[in-house]
């Protein structure tokens, strides 16, 4: 009898000690392990990273058409009142106010959240590599590394110091934003500027390596090669993912940020690879992937977002909600937050050119108010056709040409013709048919600066341009620009945890 009881007891013991029995999760959540038990799970998490980037605190709002644009003082200065408190403080670099702290801390937190999501997936990707279709494995890995590099690079550009090329030795050895490669509640150590940029670059190198032979955008393989992994169309529309060329363009951006002669050479190589590919027309309609210049005559109100020029752009589903009170082509005087260029600024920026479609088609003069300002239409959604709607540009073609031009012009052995050729290519597309010629290197740099300002309204690019070049005075802001204005403060709790800025 006793034996029977003991036997019964031990059966209960054995069955209940089974570890798997405890591994349960409620229906509304999925365990990591289950999430990554299928290829689709990896794809969904990758998509999740991009969706994370479309958050209002990142590229859905702050880091594209809103905060970074206000920091660059692109528009007519905003009048301070209770509804425009945040706008005003950003425009005037009052980073310690509650409202501005809200913005800067949210950017930091969400950016690292995206990084953690990428890291977590990379951990599982490496763990389960054998069970994943190799195409998925390489492309997803490449994209995740690129996302991680992209986010860190923008954190570095926001919370780190600019004008690197002119103070290399200081910034190379100064601690900068933490580069996080794992998932842990313990903070990642801070590295020096050089180490951090090297990490960004090595992630990008690895990313390019993974993507090079697999990314459909390179056209190496025809569509049938992807039939197995692409039957739901996951690998269509490559420019809303960090594709191979986007990684190359990003490399160019990063190298130029540091800006040593050696870096510039590498930036040029990367930029040239993109330019060459575009020259060969890499658009692929069967994969719904387009990457080409929109020529001046084709620009109309249905494509003002210029999305086909995005080497990488985000699909921000709720973009039209985000912009409501800021981008109003027919804003009224009471729309205090409306973003617009004053008529004088607009005409002087575009040098009185009416043929420049960036003035004639990408701006809209509002007449329903007293200031008669020009409203940028790049993120305005109402008239866009399907392909062009709900898209935010992250790296757009002209930037690659500008980078190339800058590299040619400022090289120790400058190639000014090539530099001008790069600029002229873009100008032709914009309706400026009179080519630049016979300029000096300095004049070319001046032209590049103008081009940045003309081209990238509402794209969050210009602030970084000013910061990179260490511009001391910028239009629309009366004060002098210095690190105080250029460097966003770390969240207070990071500083309390011993971070150095």
């Amino acid at each position: 009898m006793k034996k029977q009881i003991l036997a019964l007891l031990s059966i209960v013991l054995l069955t209940s000690s089974c570890e798997n029995w405890f591994n349960v999760t409620s229906d509304s959540e999925t365990r990591e392990k289950d999430q990554y038990s299928t290829d689709a799970g990896f794809q969904q998490s990758l998509t999740g990273c991009y969706i994370g980037m479309t958050d209002e605190s990142l590229y859905g709002k702050n880091l594209s058409w809103y905060a970074t644009e206000l920091l660059a003082n692109q528009f007519k200065p905003i009048t301070q009142n209770s509804t425009t408190e945040t706008d005003y403080e950003l425009e005037n670099y009052k980073f310690s106010t509650i409202e501005a702290v809200g913005v800067t801390e949210a950017i930091w937190a969400k950016a690292y959240n995206v990084i953690i999501n990428a890291n977590e997936e990379l951990i599982y990707l490496n763990k389960d590599s054998a069970n994943i279709n190799p195409i998925n494995y390489h492309i997803i890995k490449g994209e995740l590394l690129a996302i991680r590099a992209y986010m860190h690079f923008d954190l570095l550009r926001l919370y780190g110091y600019g004008n690197w090329a002119n103070r290399t030795s200081t910034l190379d050895s100064k601690y900068t934003i933490p580069y996080v490669t794992g998932v842990s509640k313990n903070v990642a150590p801070q590295l020096t500027g050089k180490e951090t940029i090297d990490k960004i670059l090595s992630d990008l190198d690895e990313s390019a390596k993974q993507l090079k032979d697999y990314d459909p955008i390179t056209g190496k393989h025809d569509a049938s090669y992807y039939s197995e992994v692409n039957d739901d169309g996951y690998y269509k529309n490559r420019t809303i993912h960090l594709n191979y060329y986007a990684v190359k363009a990003l490399q160019a951006r990063v190298y130029l940020w540091r800006g040593s002669a050696d870096d510039k050479a590498k930036a040029l190589t990367a930029a040239e690879e993109v330019i060459a590919a575009v020259g060969n027309d890499i658009s692929n309609s069967s994969m719904n992937t387009y990457l080409h210049f929109l020529d001046a005559l084709s620009v109309d109100k249905t494509n003002t977002s210029l999305a086909c020029e995005n080497i990488f752009g985000l699909n921000v589903a709720t973009l039209s909600n985000y912009i409501t009170s800021y981008i109003k082509p027919n804003y009224a005087d009471v729309d205090y937050s409306a973003m617009f260029l004053s008529p004088d600024d607009a005409t002087s920026l575009y040098e009185n050119s009416t043929s420049d479609i960036r003035f004639s088609k990408l701006l809209n003069q509002s007449t329903s108010n007293s200031s008669l300002g020009y409203v940028p239409l790049k993120v305005y959604q109402n008239n866009l056709s399907k392909y062009y709607a709900a898209k935010i540009s992250m790296i757009r073609l002209p930037e690659v040409y500008y980078i190339a031009a800058e590299c040619y012009a400022t090289d120790t052995n400058p190639n000014l013709d090539m530099a001008m050729k790069m600029l002229n290519t873009v100008r032709q597309q914009r309706g400026l048919y009179s080519d630049l010629s016979g300029l000096t290197a300095d004049q070319i740099e001046e032209e590049i600066k103008k081009e940045y300002r003309k081209e990238f309204i509402s794209e969050g690019v210009i602030f970084y341009y000013y910061k990179r070049t260490g511009a001391i005075s910028i239009p629309n802001y009366s004060g002098q620009m210095s690190d105080t204005q250029y460097v966003l403060p770390y969240p207070e709790f990071e500083l309390q945890s011993g971070r150095q800025q």
């Binding site: 409620s26 801390e105 990642a188 969240p491």
Partner: protein, 1103 residues
């Protein structure tokens, strides 16, 4: 209502359970008379002759009676017993009577035979009881006998020594009977009593222990005590009876019948769960809530609240480690074990219990202005003065209009508008089906409608229970099935505070009593919402089935197996018609279509649990050993979702299908959780000569809530006790009945957290697609090192009983470590918080409990009782992890819109500290408040860095005191409860005296005591102050409170009355609860729902 009451009167002629059934006399077969005249007949003929005359059957072994010679006898009118004695004299035969049988047996030389019948204390024979024989030294003699179907036993014992018979039976206390040295065969009938007789035992829910040898701190409350103080619900009675259980008054929800209280025992140690969910159902666990065990299975507070009190047999509160460690990782907050009634007799019996109760609103804490006073206050506040001439003219007109109405007698008492005296009913029918061949059943049906003090707020429970048990030899099967259907409704009148703030010169109804849409121009009348079909309903249906088996499989071994399932489905339907005032701001064409709202919610939860326990109980001489090993396994699941629809074309369309769309900007929300657990238990206790006691428990538990690294956790306890009264030197002190010292230490866990924080989980972005694809994201920072929250308890106690006085005292200290906290982490980790184990919080205190039986006579008794607890809570180390949180709180304290103190957690302080800036009072010159800075200087500027621990909201001392008496069936009981040694922030003074919105009604104190001109020395700042009063020591007030919590009377009718009505019992009772509260603080109690006094009548009768 009249009709209802009439019906009730008919039903009320019924009555309840007889407490003490007298033993039915067993007609002794041996006393039957016979007349015989036999000459040399065979033994068989002799028996036949007896059979003819007496009807007795004779059972014998043919071989044995061969030894008997032919029988010759002549008797007249002698008993059978005498006849047999005479006939069997000189033989080694023995006879015993059993019902209608006479059993003849033979004994060996030197032995004798003890025989008899084993029955329970209701006179029912017990087949299958085990009778064993021991010598005086406790050595077992090899004589075991199991009773026959007739409950008969017969054992041989040696004639030359003293022996002990030991009878055991499943569910009964082991009974011992001494047999002295003698040669005579004897008949000894033995009665056994059920092993769950209160006071003698401690019911732990897993097994039952003799109280005398138990080293834990526990309180047992019988059903009698429970129903003596209140008949509302179990929790209400517990609150009155034992101050260890702390249920703070819900200052917001007052006496709302649909709000579940927060309960804690021996202090709080976990942080409040941040209420992020808008789900209405009760899904989230309260981290400080004790564990509830109903008939051996874990249950919820709501189930206990909705349970019929009459079903309760006993409640045991397990307080210290030694008592609660059995429940291991869930027991940190204490355990409340509820046992339901078992069958009390073997006859069919019907008991009816009827109640009618009244909830009468208690508005004594409100002190609002009447119409005249309000106008006066408005004038003083400068409402009717303006520098602009035109405005002044219209203000004067407004004032005159209002003044005219007031002079005409308009003085609306808004407080009473949404209130009434709620009349509730309860009917409970209990049917005992008696016993047939070991099968017993009890049916219980209850209808209980509680009607709250706010109109149309009520709660109705209809429940049915079937308790079936079957006993076969050494096996016992029991099954309890319980089904509860609950329907509850919140008052459509809305929040009580909306009425409190209404100005008395506004009108609620017109001359004809019709409710007005507007109380004055543009002032919505809150009553109107209740007239248009607003409906706030929720319901649930619960099914619980618990199955038990007990098997006395080998001598001292008993196995129990339990299996329980429960299922619950609940729903919420809230409908706000299109004319509801919440849509008053929906004015655009588009918004007009959005008026009307419906919130629907669906939830379900289920649990399955099972356990197997084997216990061993043996006395060897002076040593008593009890051991238990067990294994437990369970799964709990719950899920709920909610969706909101809007746009109803008219007020009458009350179904969600009439909605135009989902509410703008909403998606269905929901949650789900699952928790699997397993554990192993070993418990051992040892007692030497009933003097030295030891209890030890070890429980190893695992839960799916925790990470792989820390899945298993152990909890343990060790208790020691000394029954000094059993020592030789104490035996002479006859008046000391008990003097027991106890001490225990142990570690238990807390699991009241819904968390998957140990592992990373993914969620999907809802409502967002990226390029046509859905995305998933990591939901939390995984922390695989997450451990169980643990509590280490120390307890020393003494129990003393001297004649009429019984007293027990305990001192305890409980350290909660590894507290599960949302620890702030730098966001560069990707998340802003992580669930982690940090900190140490200490609760300590003492508990005293006394009962003195002043009188105890044939006709009645007088008893006084009282209890006192002292509780202290201190954070030992925590503030590092809460640094960011505390700073956030400081900021929020300084915010100009925050008028209530914030919660902060700092080392050395209590978790219930009230943080406020020290105030030097109101400056008589300026009428502004002067604050005292840390360095002692004065300032007008409020600075959160000056915040000090200004008070503690946890009462240090709480207690109850009461008296109960009975004389000739008439009983009386009253209980007072009190608390002191704490502070409270008087928000009424802030909201209704200082930060008043003069547009609405204010506290009378506005009129007096506020600063008006330089030189005024006042408590309250000046009128027309624009600044919000932030947390200041000025409003931290000492709180002493005395509650007359219960008064009750009952009359147990004498037999002369109930016998006439064919009843077995008839009892009438009257209760008053929450009769009065006397407090040192004048503060509005029950802001959203008022407090109520409860009066009720009850009638119990048994047929």
């Amino acid at each position: 209502m009249k009709k209802k009451r009439g019906k009730m009167c008919i039903l009320l002629r019924v009555s309840l359970i007889i407490m003490f059934l007298s033993l039915p006399a067993i007609s002794f077969a041996g006393s039957r008379k016979v007349t015989l005249d036999l000459h040399s007949v065979t033994v068989k003929d002799f028996f036949d002759a007896l059979h003819k005359q007496t009807g007795l059957s004779f059972i014998y072994n043919v071989e044995q009676i061969k030894l008997l010679n032919a029988v010759t006898i002549k008797v007249s009118n002698k008993t059978v017993d005498d006849v047999l004695k005479k006939v069997f004299k000189g033989t080694n035969l023995l006879y015993t009577f059993s019902d209608n049988m006479v059993i003849i047996s033979q004994y060996k030389a030197g032995n004798r035979i003890i025989s008899g019948i084993i029955y329970d204390n209701y006179g029912k024979v017990l087949p299958g009881a085990v009778v064993r024989v021991f010598d005086a030294n406790g050595k077992e003699l090899r004589n075991i006998c199991v009773t026959t179907d007739n409950g008969h036993y017969s054992v041989e014992v040696p004639s030359n020594i003293n022996c002990v018979l030991s009878v055991s039976f499943v569910g009964m206390k082991v009974k011992q009977s001494n047999i002295k040295v003698d040669n005579e065969n004897i008949i000894r009938n033995i009665s056994m009593s059920s092993d769950n007789v209160l006071n003698d035992v401690v019911v732990t829910g897993i097994y039952t222990r003799k109280a005398e040898s138990f080293t834990g701190a526990s309180t047992t409350i019988s059903s009698d005590e429970l129903t003596r103080v209140s008949n509302q619900n179990i929790i209400q009675s517990l609150k009155i009876l034992d101050p260890t259980i702390y249920i703070p008054d819900n200052m917001t929800m007052g006496s709302d019948p649909n709000t579940t209280p927060t309960i804690s025992m021996r202090g709080t140690s976990s942080f409040p769960v941040e209420g992020t969910t808008t789900l209405k159902g009760n899904y989230q666990n309260q981290p400080n809530q004790p564990l509830f065990i109903l008939d051996g299975f874990e249950t919820t507070l709501q189930t206990v609240m909705d349970m019929d009190m009459n079903r309760v047999e006993s409640i045991t509160i397990l307080k210290d480690a030694s008592a609660k460690a059995l429940y291991g990782s869930k027991a940190a907050n204490g355990v409340i074990v509820i046992e339901t009634k078992k069958l009390t007799g073997n006859k069919q019996r019907i008991t009816y219990n009827g109640n009618i109760s009244f909830e009468v609103p208690d508005l004594t804490s409100y002190n609002m202005c009447n119409a005249t006073e309000k106008l006066q206050a408005e004038v003083a506040e400068g409402v009717y003065t303006d520098s602009d001439v035109d405005t002044q003219a219209s203000l004067t007109k407004l004032y005159n209009n209002r003044r005219k109405l007031v002079l005409e007698g308009l003085d609306t008492y808004w407080l009473s508008k949404p209130l009434h005296s709620g009349v509730g009913y309860k009917h409970d029918l209990n049917i005992e089906l008696g016993d047939s061949n070991g099968l017993r059943a009890i049916l219980d049906l209850t209808y209980d409608k509680v009607s709250g003090a706010m109109k149309e707020s009520d709660r109705t429970n209809i429940s049915g229970d079937v308790n079936v048990s079957y006993r076969q030899k050494n096996l016992l099967f029991k099954n309890i099935l319980s089904i509860v259907s609950n329907n509850s409704q919140d008052s459509p009148y809305g929040s009580f505070s909306d009425y409190v703030k209404m100005n008395p010169y506004w009108q609620a109804t017109d001359e004809n009593g019709k409710v007005l849409r507007w109380a004055e121009d543009n002032i919505a009348n809150p009553m109107y919402d209740s007239q248009i079909g607003t409906s706030l309903k929720s319901n649930y249906l619960q099914f619980i089935n618990n199955f038990y088996t007990e098997w006395q499989f080998y001598q001292d071994f008993k196995a129990t197996f339990r299996f329980g399932v429960s299922q619950k489905r609940n729903g919420v339907d809230d409908f706000y018609p299109r004319d509801h005032s919440m849509f008053a701001s929906y004015t655009s064409d588009e918004d007009l279509l959005r008026r009307g709202k419906y919130i629907a919610e669906d939830g379900k939860s289920s649990s399955i649990s099972s356990d197997l326990n084997i216990n061993f109980n043996k006395e060897i001489g002076l040593h008593t050993i009890f051991a238990n090993v067990g294994t437990f396994i369970s799964e709990d699941k719950s899920s709920a979702y909610q969706y909101t629809a809007e746009g109803f074309t008219n007020n009458q369309n009350t179904d969600i299908t009439f909605a135009r769309q989902y509410a703008e900007g909403t998606t269905p929300i929901g949650f789900s959780s699952i928790n699997r657990q397993a554990s192993f238990l070993t418990a051992l206790s040892y007692d030497y000569a009933n003097r030295y006691l030891m209890d030890a428990t070890l429980r190893e538990s695992a839960s799916s809530l925790y990470g792989k690294d820390n899945r298993w956790a152990n909890s343990w306890s060790l208790g020691l006790g000394w029954n000094m009264h059993n020592e030789k030197f104490m035996r002479n002190l006859k008046f000391v009945k008990q003097l027991k010292f106890r001490a225990s230490v142990g570690l238990t866990g807390n699991q009241n957290f819904d968390t998957n924080a140990a592992i990373g989980t993914y969620k999907y972005y809802t409502g967002v697609v990226y390029g046509g694809f859905t995305g998933a994201y990591l939901n939390n920072m995984p922390n695989s090192g997450l451990k169980w929250e643990q509590k280490k308890d120390y307890d020393i106690g003494v129990d003393l009983r001297i004649s009429g006085l019984s007293l027990s005292a305990d001192y305890y200290r409980a350290d909660t470590k590894n507290m599960l906290t949302d620890v702030t982490i730098p966001t560069s980790t990707g998340f802003s918080t992580v669930k982690d184990n940090l900190g140490l919080v200490r609760n300590s205190g003492y508990e005293l409990k006394a009962n003195y039986n002043i009188l105890h006579g044939k006709y009645g008794f007088v008893n006084v009782y009282g209890a006192l607890t002292y509780t202290k809570n201190k954070i030992i180390s925590l503030s590092e992890s809460m640094k960011a949180y505390n700073e956030k709180m400081e900021k929020s304290a300084e915010s100009t819109s925050n008028s209530i103190p914030v919660l902060m957690y700092k080392d050395g302080q209590s978790m219930n500290t009230i943080w406020a800036v020290p105030s030097a009072g109101i400056d008589p010159q300026t009428g502004m408040e002067i604050y005292i800075k840390k360095d002692g200087s004065y300032t007008y500027t409020y600075d959160a860095s000056d915040l000090v621990a200004a008070g503690n909201s946890l009462p240090k001392y709480r207690g109850t005191a009461g008296i109960s008496a009975e004389y000739k069936g008439i009983g009386f009981n009253t209980t007072l409860s009190f608390l002191t040694g704490c502070q409270m922030y008087n928000y009424t003074l802030v909201d209704r005296v200082e930060d008043v919105d003069i547009t609405y009604n204010v506290d009378k104190r506005v009129l007096y005591g506020r600063w008006q001109k330089p030189g005024d020395v006042t408590k309250y700042k000046k009128f027309q102050s624009k600044e919000v009063t932030r947390a200041t020591t000025r409003f931290v007030q000492n709180r002493h409170e005395l509650d007359l919590s219960s008064i009750s009377f009952y009359y147990e009718m004498p037999a002369s009355i109930y016998k006439k009505m064919y009843m077995q019992r008839l009892k009438l009772a009257f209760y008053m609860n929450d009769v009065a509260t006397f407090s040192s603080i004048r503060i509005e109690r029950g802001t959203s729902y008022p407090f109520a006094r409860n009066f009720s009548f009850s009638l119990t009768s048994t047929f």
